[in-house]
């Protein structure tokens, strides 16, 4: 009899532990952003122009190179940084100069930033400069959008067509 009571006690202790583990496996709920908020996600990968134009090599320069390595042009690998501005209803949300990736600075510039904003209607304006110019922008888009609670509003850029995408 005592053996059974002891066994029940042992089972009760183990069950208590396991039930606590089962409860904590999905509770309490974690809320990443305040209720009634939306997320604007600015993300794209885009390579700006090379820092300098390709240059034709002289025959003397070509002759210096081993026969199997010879080429007629020398193109510098490094890319320019990209400058981006994101405004939300006239308010500055993001301003940044995005350097090219890679050790040699020849990769694409990239950005991945989240902004938590209250749900509602906004004018979203995005501008980007990816050429040597110092004034004005090469790509831009401005649009009125309505953000619903929990919405993930993505601002992306398509390099092939050179246009910003809102989705």
């Amino acid at each position: 009899m005592i053996g059974y009571v002891r066994l029940i006690g042992q089972f009760a202790v183990i069950l208590l532990l396991f039930s606590a583990v089962a409860a904590l496996a999905s509770w309490p709920v974690y809320r990443q952003v305040p209720e009634g908020s939306a997320i604007i996600l600015l993300t794209f990968v885009h390579g700006a122009d090379r820092k300098a134009e390709c240059r034709n090599l002289s025959s003397k320069e070509i002759a210096k190179v081993a026969p199997n390595m010879r080429r007629v042009q020398e193109c510098p690998r490094g890319r320019r940084p990209i400058y981006v501005e994101l405004d939300l209803s006239g308010r500055d949300l993001f301003r940044a100069t995005l350097p090219p990736s890679g050790i040699a600075g020849d990769g694409h510039s990239r950005v991945y930033r989240r902004f938590v904003v209250p749900a509602g209607q906004y004018e979203v304006a995005i501008r980007m400069r990816d050429t040597p110019r110092t004034e004005g922008f090469d790509h831009q888009r401005k649009e009125m959008v309505t953000l619903t609670p929990d919405q993930m509003f993505v601002v992306d850029f398509r390099s092939q067509s050179g246009e910003f995408v809102f989705r």
């Binding site: 002891r6 066994l7 006690g9 042992q10 089972f11 202790v13 183990i14 069950l15 532990l17 396991f18 039930s19 583990v21 089962a22 409860a23 904590l24 496996a25 999905s26 509770w27 309490p28 709920v29 974690y30 809320r31 990443q32 952003v33 908020s37 939306a38 997320i39 996600l41 993300t43 990968v45 990736s101 890679g102 990769g107 694409h108 990239r110 991945y112 929990d150 919405q151 993930m152 993505v154 992306d156 989705r167």
Partner: protein, 538 residues
């Protein structure tokens, strides 16, 4: 600075040890030392691993690895086949969580009981990769369900990885809009969720390599109780999905698994860089713990070939795999001899207690045995016993063999301290009682479920019960011998049991022979018993 750090670590260890004692001793009474779950953490970790593996294989039968159908297949097995596949899903999830609980508690307990320094560094150090592999296994598993929690895990995990400057394009971009994620990426996750646990099993095998008789399976009763409790918890609170992924919606509110994902909310609070810094610093600190500060060790056990007949009892009893039997190197007619690996030996003396040559009855001037501790030899032990017996007074003269790590460690009068009670060969008890050096003997070890040298309590019990060589001879009156298994924090209980035993012995008829002159037993040299270096653990 270094001394302050060491003092702080010792203080944390002491607090944790008190906490474990507070939990373990009542569980000892409920479960008994052999079934106490806190003393079976490693074995339960293995047990839950196998449950996760078997339930995972079962779930894989029903799981569709394509990204479009993964969620549906999990919903199908959870709802339509709840009575087998659904239960298996809960087994899979909760056993994984329990693995985390076992791992963390096991790590804290080994730290609390100072089971991670000295020769034990190997098991501790090789346990660090297991933490990373277990978490990687669990996180990739949550990904596969492809519900809102999976979306959250995918986003936060990839944002964390993107912080490291190793990927050309942010991985997190794959999870921000429909169509950007392909089944190929999902297949990679499936592969990782299978491959990483296999690596973990390999790491677990390495983790126990230097442990003699590792506990890889819990006692059957504990295993059955755990399985039934897991089934009950699975039926009470089955593991379910949290709604299908909608990449146009942010996974803003999710029911987190707080065992696998406690650091994920910190990415919002601290940022990804700080979380990586924390993980790196934590892993480095844990990995270096065995040397913060290193354990000062006494000299390793030494074999005296003239007294070793290659019986292999020392190799059998060593809890650290520090002794192996090798081909004989002298002219004696035995095939093997014991060889000690000094880098694995902790000088616990259990080998000395197991050696059939370790008999104090020898009258030779220079008492020697087959395997001995240079810092605490059998000869010195016998001298200490005789010297201590000479100080015993009162109606019942009780001699205590006190483990350095147990409840009797602080008992000063009439006690012979030992690094482990299994160091005392059973013939020494016989010697004490048959030579009438004392009216009773108490062997005071650690708590039975928390033996500092893992097997000392078990070997002692088995030797006394005649189940393990060397046996305690039948002529030894058992009513004059008592074992008290009490932790260092149970000195009060030790003293009470000792007093009760002394009363019981006092009520017994006097032994036939009068106490002999100590010099009649042996010509004990007039010198102070040698002491171990301060702070060392023999």
């Amino acid at each position: 600075m270094a001394q302050n750090g060491a003092r702080m670590i010792a203080a944390v260890r002491s607090v944790l040890r008190h906490a474990f004692e507070w939990i373990e001793r009542p569980l000892d009474r409920l479960f008994g030392p052999a079934l106490n779950p806190v003393a079976q953490l490693g074995a339960l970790g293995f047990f839950f691993f196998w449950i996760v593996a078997v339930s995972g294989i079962y779930l894989f039968i029903f799981f569709d690895t394509g990204i479009e159908r993964a969620y549906e297949s999990v919903e199908n097995l959870t709802n339509k086949h709840w009575y087998h596949a659904g239960v298996m899903r809960s087994f899979h999830r909760y056993a994984s969580d329990l693995m985390v609980v076992m791992l963390v508690t096991h790590m804290l307990r080994e730290f609390a009981y100072d089971h991670y320094r000295g020769t034990r560094w190997f098991s501790w150090f090789t346990g660090v990769p297991i933490i990373w592999l277990l978490y990687t296994s669990g996180i990739t598993g949550y990904w596969l369900v492809w519900d809102k929690l999976a979306q959250y895990v995918a986003l936060v995990s990839s944002e964390l990885l993107d912080w490291l400057p190793i990927f050309g394009e942010p991985i997190a971009r794959n999870f921000v809009s429909t169509g950007t994620l392909t089944s190929r990426f999902f297949s990679l996750m499936v592969f990782m969720h299978i491959a990483v646990p296999l690596f973990m099993l390999f790491a677990m095998w390495i983790h126990i390599l230097h442990i003699s008789r590792p506990k890889m399976n819990p006692p059957r009763t504990l295993a059955v109780l755990s399985l039934v409790a897991l089934l009950a918890a699975s039926l009470w609170n089955p593991a379910v999905s949290q709604g299908q992924v909608d990449l146009s919606k942010a996974p803003v509110a999710v029911g987190l698994d707080w065992f696998f994902l406690p650091l994920y909310p910190l990415t919002d609070l601290w940022g990804n860089g700080a979380v990586w810094a924390f993980l790196g610093a934590f892993s480095l600190m844990i990995a270096l713990m065995p040397w913060l500060p290193p354990l000062r060790r006494a000299k390793a056990a030494a074999v005296d070939l003239a007294h070793c007949n290659g019986c292999a009892r020392c190799a059998e009893d060593c809890p650290y795999e520090a002794i192996r039997m090798v081909r004989r190197t002298d002219d004696l007619p035995f095939p093997t001899e014991a060889q000690v690996n000094p880098s694995l030996c902790v000088s616990c003396g259990i080998c000395m207690g197991s050696c059939p040559s370790s008999t104090p009855f020898r009258r030779s001037e220079e008492l020697r045995t087959g395997i001995d501790l240079p810092d605490y030899s059998l000869r010195e032990l016998r001298e200490r016993v005789i010297a201590t017996a000479g100080t015993l007074e009162g109606p019942a003269r009780i001699l205590v063999f006190a483990c350095d790590h147990g409840g009797g460690a602080g008992h000063l009068s009439g006690a012979v301290p030992l690094p482990c009670v299994a160091m005392a060969p059973p013939s020494l008890i016989d010697f004490v009682l048959s030579k009438n050096l004392a009216d009773g003997v108490v062997v005071a070890g650690c708590a039975e479920s928390a033996c500092y040298h893992r097997l000392g309590a078990a070997w002692t019990e088995q030797r006394f019960a005649g189940e393990r060589d060397p046996y305690l001879r039948a002529r030894v009156p058992r009513d004059r011998l008592k074992t008290i298994w009490a932790s260092a924090l149970e000195s009060g209980r030790f003293e009470r049991e000792l007093a009760a035993f002394a009363d019981a012995v006092a009520a017994m008829p006097a032994t036939a022979s009068a106490s002999p002159s100590l010099h009649a037993i042996l010509p004990a040299p007039e010198r102070e018993p040698a002491r171990l270096p301060e702070g060392s653990v023999p």
